[in-house]
């Protein structure tokens, strides 16, 4: 073979190699909004944001609910690529938004408190401009702590009666008419702890309400709140609020800090005991018995921050039902744990946030199969700001496969 022929062969091989390995050039594109990270920063020292929930608006924007300056209510709208559109603070007397936005058909609601009278409002939010409309108010339901909106449109609102030292539970019809109200003795004064919870000057406590379809029995409501000296998960009859059973905690030092009823009648739970966190992706719960959360067998997750919020949600990812636990670590990184809804086995873990400390706000699924993770970050290690992570469907699949 001559030198000339060698060169011809080398050059042809060179060209073929280049063409064969350069596919990543033509495929190096991604649609806007599929993936992004955004930190909504301001130049002010004194701005403090505590993000609570994020909602996807018509698959083209995101609405973020936050608390600012302790318990004032802040709304922020971002485009589908996370670009900032507008922000606003709700005027007085609305304070203490519960850490969730509630969706019914095309309407979006939030539940909040009257700053002076401590009563309860349900506000309908116009996601286009952030205008709010009072659709329900009841100044007798004081210190609203948690709410649940059922698929049928019924509301279940948990409050605290400071004069009677009782937890109140009120069910409203879809037309906002009171169907029943029930109170549960706490037997001690917990107002100071509740005020610290609301004003974020003390431990944030995991108040929540929910509905469980039951397993062969009729469904029932549950609420996590003060009952009989403890933070307890109490199960009640949906027709009159009469208690069915309870899973007691230990005062406000040991408690269930998140629960989600699964379709098979089991619960996905998280419990906290003196700052130690346990995730229980599948647990049989007898709603008609008296039990204790300390008796739940579970693995301890020492990486989870002692007082971290824990979010449990289920989403269908490519036809597969997945339980997602979202929380943050002691090193202030957001963590997503994915479990199989069929057997509670762990599928994967995703860690987010290295640049700055991050704390979990909430998560929501998007129409493109991805996930939006709302968090609080401390930019420059000191200024609390809202952050959004948008994970693509492929990134979610990578986590669970």
């Amino acid at each position: 073979m001559t030198i000339k022929n060698t060169y011809i062969n080398l050059s042809v091989a060179f060209c073929l190699i280049c063409l064969g390995t350069s596919c990543d050039i033509s495929e190096n594109e991604i649609e806007p909004g599929i993936s992004f990270t955004k930190i909504y920063n301001s130049s002010s020292f004194t701005d403090i944001y505590d993000p609570l929930d994020v909602a996807s608006i018509n698959d083209s924007a995101y609405l973020v609910l936050s608390a600012t300056d302790a318990w004032n209510i802040h709304l922020l709208k971002a485009g589908m690529d996370g670009a900032f559109e507008w922000e606003m603070n709700l005027p007085e007397p609305y304070v203490n938004a519960l850490p969730q936005m509630y969706r019914q058909d095309d309407n979006l609601y939030l539940v909040c408190m009257n700053e002076l009278r401590l009563g309860t409002y349900i506000l309908r939010i116009n996601p286009a401009g952030g205008e709010t409309e009072v659709v329900y108010q009841n100044q007798e339901i004081t210190y609203p702590l948690a709410a649940h909106l059922s698929a049928q449109g019924d509301w279940l609102i948990q409050g605290y009666n400071r004069e009677e030292r009782k937890t109140s539970l009120t069910k409203l019809s879809p037309g906002f008419n009171k169907e029943w109200s029930k109170e549960f003795d706490i037997l001690e004064d917990v107002e100071e702890r509740i005020i610290k919870h609301l004003t974020r000057t003390g431990t944030r406590l995991p108040f929540f309400n929910g509905y469980a379809p039951g397993n062969g029995n009729s469904g029932y409501y549950y609420f996590n709140g003060f009952n009989n000296y403890t933070m307890a998960l109490t199960f009640v009859n949906p027709s009159d609020g009469e208690p069915l059973g309870v899973m007691n905690g230990f005062r406000d030092l040991g408690y269930i800090n998140a629960a989600l009823s699964l379709e098979n009648g089991a619960f996905a739970l998280s419990k906290n005991s003196y700052g130690d966190n346990y995730l229980i992706p599948m647990s049989e719960v007898n709603e008609r018995s008296v039990s204790s959360s300390s008796d739940l067998e579970a693995n301890q997750f020492p990486e989870i921050d002692a007082r971290a919020n824990v979010i449990i949600k289920t989403y269908e990812i490519q036809g597969r039902e997945i339980i997602f636990y979202a929380t943050h670590s002691r090193s202030k990184r957001i963590m997503l744990y994915a479990y199989d809804v069929l057997d509670g086995s762990l599928l994967g873990v995703e860690y987010m946030g290295q640049t700055s400390p991050y704390e979990i706000g909430n998560i929501t699924a998007t129409a493109d199969g991805g996930l939006v993770v709302l968090g609080k970050t401390y930019v420059a290690g000191r200024f609390p700001r809202i952050s959004l992570f948008k994970l693509t469907e492929n990134e979610v699949l990578d986590m669970i496969n």
Partner: protein
């Protein structure tokens, strides 16, 4: 982009074939052995990169855009700051006296740097002030495969030349070094701080391929059994080298502010020194073929 590159290399092949054909005709009229020459050599040098930004991104959104104090625009350094190096082998084939085809595989580092600044101010006391400056340095390691056509219109011992061609680089890995410094005037006095650099692997934030066109010139000096040359190339990257699919993953998991990379291509000036050794010798007196 893939079609453009395919056309480019197809064109290279056509012109290469044409040159070979012309070389063949030339050889037929002369002595076939002494009408061509092959060379093998080694070379190394430095390069200076300039990123060309096609689309800018940030993981920060200002919710008070009227506040002029805060900025997240990346300020890219000039090419003279972005120093890289390269070294490699070179195989050249002189088809005739004027035209040489060169394949010079090399190991190459590209470097580009930028900084971004942030500041915060106490609204109630403007003397309380915090400023952070993040200096980012990206170092990309490539195996580079340039294919060059070199024209030497004049000279015998000292031969200036011009050249053009294309290149295909394959990313080996990429590193990021970030240094944070700033002014903290919010803790009772002014403190200037500078933290130790942090480094991390960011290979997944770039695509593997990097292709483009190149042109340049140089001169060679023939000492008989060894030829020294100095070479200059201007390399024009033809596409975005940042991995769009991983654009935001860096800001989730890699230390440092402003990790969302802009879409960019690279312009690069490369200066090298090298030497060639001729491969064909006239056996009678062991003198190399000189065209």
């Amino acid at each position: 982009m893939k079609h453009i590159i395919a056309l480019f290399f197809a064109g290279l092949c056509c012109s290469f074939s044409t040159c070979l054909a012309q070389g063949g005709r030339y050889s037929n009229s002369k002595n076939l052995f002494s009408s061509t020459q092959g060379f093998i050599g080694i070379w190394s040098g430095v390069n200076f990169s300039t990123p060309i930004i096609s689309q800018s991104y940030s993981d920060f959104a200002l919710i008070d855009p009227s506040a002029d104090i805060l900025s997240d625009k990346k300020q890219y350094e000039s090419a003279t700051t972005n120093l890289g190096t390269q070294m490699g082998l070179s195989a050249a084939f002189s088809i005739n006296k004027y035209l040489t085809v060169v394949l010079s595989p090399s190991y190459k580092t590209l470097n580009y740097q930028y900084q971004s600044q942030f500041s915060w101010q106490d609204e109630e006391n403007s003397l309380n002030y915090l400023e952070h400056t993040y200096h980012h340095e990206k170092v990309l390691h490539y195996i580079s495969l340039p294919l060059l056509f070199r024209f030497s219109p004049m000279g015998r011992r000292l031969k200036p030349y011009v050249q053009f061609g294309g290149y295909y680089d394959r990313l080996l890995d990429a590193q990021k070094h970030i240094t944070t410094e700033g002014i903290d005037q919010a803790s009772g006095g002014q403190v200037n701080f500078k933290e130790n650099p942090q480094s991390t692997d960011i290979s997944h934030l770039f695509i593997r391929s990097h292709a483009g066109l190149l042109g340049g010139g140089g001169a060679s000096y023939n000492l008989g059994t060894i030829i020294f040359y100095v070479d200059g190339q201007y390399r024009y990257g033809m596409h975005n080298i940042v991995n769009a699919k991983e654009r935001f993953s860096g800001s989730r998991n890699i230390t440092g502010f402003g990790n969302v990379q802009d879409d960019l291509s690279i312009k690069n000036i490369e200066i090298s020194l090298g030497c060639y050794f001729p491969l064909k010798f006239l056996t009678k007196d062991f003198k190399p073929v000189i065209l």
